[in-house]
């Protein structure tokens, strides 16, 4: 483990039980043996389509859901085997911002109570200092102190997401998993929240795992990007490297599919063959092979490893030498 890695996961696998009906119970493998390091102070974007396992990975590495196997190290300490009690002090260091600010805030608690809950749980400060801290946090995320007395239903979507951010920041975390934090917001509000997150990141020295499918946001804020497909990371690179020289056939079609906000350039829409994958019945070998125009027999036979192409670029494709 390099000294600059804040979080490191090794061959992490997560599965879910599925199909409680008749017949043999099935397991859905959402995350399949993922290795990933997140460097201290970076923004790592995790991109991929629905069902690729990005949310599951984000939740499993915070130990919000159990993993089947693999190790998670936070700042050098293995947290994958810790029990709930010993994990509690570390929970303060790792927080999450959720996608849906309408579902992730308790409607029966005031904004002040929501933001202060983490302080209560971790017994940080006394009553008066918690009240002051809540006011400070609300100011930090651009809300008025009077918002502390309101309930979530009285706030707009953007304001709710600010509350979600204040709640995550309350316990002074070092690491935050932001799971699609702007996807449910309107365009103009999205820009406000992204700008706020980046300001806070710089000011507080945060490390962020930013889960999203919005590639414009990725290019703007991420230092590195990991592309997931069917539970595996298939390409990992510095942001500009990935956008300029995507190597995996899937990454390429993903980038080409983003509609350009420029009507003068209208390339034909890229044609992706095949159906989106079904995570409960993945193909053998490379998960992408039955949609890939470059697939050969070898792709069905073995699972491509995430190999290093250069110091800043890793790729899981058996045929990359022939393709490029």
């Amino acid at each position: 483990m390099s000294s600059s890695d804040l979080l490191k996961i090794e061959s992490l696998s997560v599965s879910f039980g599925q199909g409680r009906g008749f017949g043999r119970p099935k397991r859905l493998q959402a995350v399949r043996g993922v290795d990933l390091s997140i460097r201290d102070g970076e923004v790592l974007a995790l991109v991929g389509e629905s069902g690729s396992g990005k949310t599951t990975l984000g939740r499993a590495l915070l130990r919000l859901i159990p993993a089947d196997s693999g190790r998670i190290l936070f700042d050098g300490t293995e947290i994958s085997a810790m029990n709930a009690r010993s994990l509690r002090p570390l929970r303060q260091e790792m927080q999450m911002i959720f996608q849906d600010p309408f579902a992730s805030l308790d409607p029966r608690m005031t904004v002040g109570q929501i933001v202060a809950e983490g302080l209560d749980v971790h017994r940080l400060g006394d009553r008066q200092s918690r009240i002051n801290r809540v006011a400070e946090l609300l100011a930090l995320v651009g809300l008025d102190p009077s918002h502390a007395w309101r309930y979530p239903h009285a706030l707009s979507g953007g304001q709710r997401q600010r509350v979600g951010i204040a709640r995550a920041l309350a316990v002074n975390p070092r690491f935050i998993v932001a799971d699609e934090p702007v996807s449910s917001l309107d365009v103009s509000v999205q820009a406000q929240i992204i700008t706020l997150l980046m300001e806070l990141k710089a000011r507080l020295g945060l490390t962020l795992l930013f889960i999203t499918h919005n590639l414009g946001v990725v290019r703007m804020i991420a230092d590195r990007v990991a592309v997931m497909y069917l539970g595996r990371i298939i390409e990992l690179a510095d942001t500009e490297t990935l956008f300029r020289e995507p190597r995996h056939p899937y990454t390429r079609i993903l980038l080409e599919s983003v509609p350009r906000p420029d009507p003068r350039i209208r390339p034909p829409f890229p044609v992706q063959t095949g159906e989106p994958p079904n995570p409960s019945a993945p193909p053998s070998g490379c998960g992408y092979r039955n949609r890939c125009g470059h697939a050969r027999d070898i792709c069905a036979a073995s699972i491509p490893a995430l190999d290093s192409l250069s110091a800043s670029h890793r790729l899981a494709c058996l045929r990359h030498d022939e393709i490029n």
Binding site: E49, G157, V187, Q190, A191, R219, V258, P261, R264, V271
Partner: protein, 332 residues
Amino acid sequence: MTEQPVIEVHDLRVSLGTDDGNIEAVAGISFRVREGETLALVGESGAGKSVTSLAIMRLLQAGEGSKAVGIGGRILFRDRDAGTIDLLGLQPEAMRRMRGHDLAMIFQEPMTCLNPVMCVGDQIAEAVLAHEKVSSRTAMTRAIDMLRLVGIPDPASRSRVFPHELSGGMRQRVMIAMALACQPRLLIADEPTTALDVTVQAQVLDLIRRLQREFSMGVLFITHDLGVVAQIADRVAVMYAGRIVEEAPVEDLFAHPLHPYTRGLLASVPDATQAGNIVQPIPGSMPALSHLPQGCSFQPRCHAALAGRCEREAPPAIAAGCRSVHCWLHAA
């Protein structure tokens, strides 16, 4: 200009009764969509985009949170035999005959309009049988042809599956097949790709573009995604708080946005194709329609608002060539 307008909307007003009192969800908007043309209606939630589309389809009903509905203005639809009909003056039965035949609509969530207990071929055939005097065998042949046209592999056997057996993108295709089965003159697409993954979105946009050309339909495309607008629209109308604040050909709008709100929207979208992109958010959020500010609705968020002007009087429509803008900054 040879293309005839398929639909002309004049001073459309829709008021809804809500718990907060009556609100004007659409406050006098006018636009037209020509044959073979795509007009994108852009705006954020609550701008009135969907209410506009439902008003055109005459699908706004009293009830369900909206206590009273008042619709004013004119919605002129040019018929196949070149007669012009005001949709707002039609009897419900006459309107029912036009829906699905002359005007069709597709939605963000296909399961809201697909019947979960009916196989997809029967659903499309039913749409055909509702409007045309054909045998059920002919209708089913048409249904299978439509499934093929929208790119569903092995359409004959897929026509017998139920919606839940299909992926999200395939359901979207089935919904498009059903909407287009009678070759409507106007297709209203209300955020049809918002719930889809980006690679699937590209396929569905490609499909809509191709079918539009084939049928020379007018398309009213409702979206909040400016990337999609740039790729699919011929003209764009930007809505804010129930009004169209700017309308222009798509190249002009992106190259020279006139309204401060349009500029702010364009500056809010991070471009995945540009390195070092930044966004400049618009401060604040759209006002509730029940508490609209005096004068221009955008004025409290506008960095260029003219003191003594914008907060007093609603801005006039200023037309220049083939575009228009509602803003005091552009008044002579």
